[in-house]
């Protein structure tokens, strides 16, 4: 199960497993963003290439208007995936 929603702080909280079967839910939410936002991954356990594709697509679209997404509280395993994917150079990332 994957969940994505706004926290009271205005950050976007992601939780669960962002796999291929859940990527449409992430895309529907992130596709509506039109300004810079912070994604909190503290409760995100897992992400696959399907989720990475949505993040990249969102970052590319936002960058056209000078905006960006920042990702915080990334666990060690997801950070490894970001590093192998080169996402550590195109996203601002903070680990747990």
């Amino acid at each position: 199960m994957f969940e994505i929603d706004y926290a009271e702080s205005g950050e976007i909280v992601c939780s669960g497993r962002l796999d291929a079967a859940q990527s449409a839910k992430a895309e529907a939410f992130l596709g509506r963003l039109d300004a810079s936002h912070t994604l909190d991954f503290e409760r995100l356990e897992y992400i696959s290439s399907a989720g990475l594709a949505i993040l990249l697509k969102t970052q590319k679209r936002l960058s056209e208007s000078g905006a960006a997404i920042r990702i915080i509280n990334v666990n060690r395993h997801i950070h490894d995936i970001f590093r192998y994917s080169g996402f550590n150079t195109i996203f601002e990332i903070e680990t747990l």
Partner: protein
Amino acid sequence: MAGQSFKRSIESVAGIYRFSEDIMAADDIDESIRFPVHLAMEELFVNLVTYNPGAEHDILIDVQIVNDGVVVTIVDHDAAEFDVTRERSVDTAASLRERKPGGLGLHLIQHMVDTLEYDYRNGRSKIRFSKGPDTRDV
């Protein structure tokens, strides 16, 4: 050793996770092994489903615990030939403007598992990978 067949649909991904997680949790396999095993299973399964949409047979996944590591075998009897061990060209140093979404799955697997084998004959694709201590020679 435990095997199970899964319908060739992206919706099977959750069931594949539960199936393999139960096996690895029962043997107390470390999270540092479980995470890349789940990732590799999903990426390989999704590849088989996505790039051969006309196929009908279920896909068999077998998970074996070996010396505190994991060996996974995926068999598709209705497969198109696609060598998952061939090196994929992904420019991970490219700028945001140059990057294109997609194509990262096999690149990640090749970095995160210890062994990856592919065999294709007579329409049957057999993929085997291992992760963890002392699984390389199994």
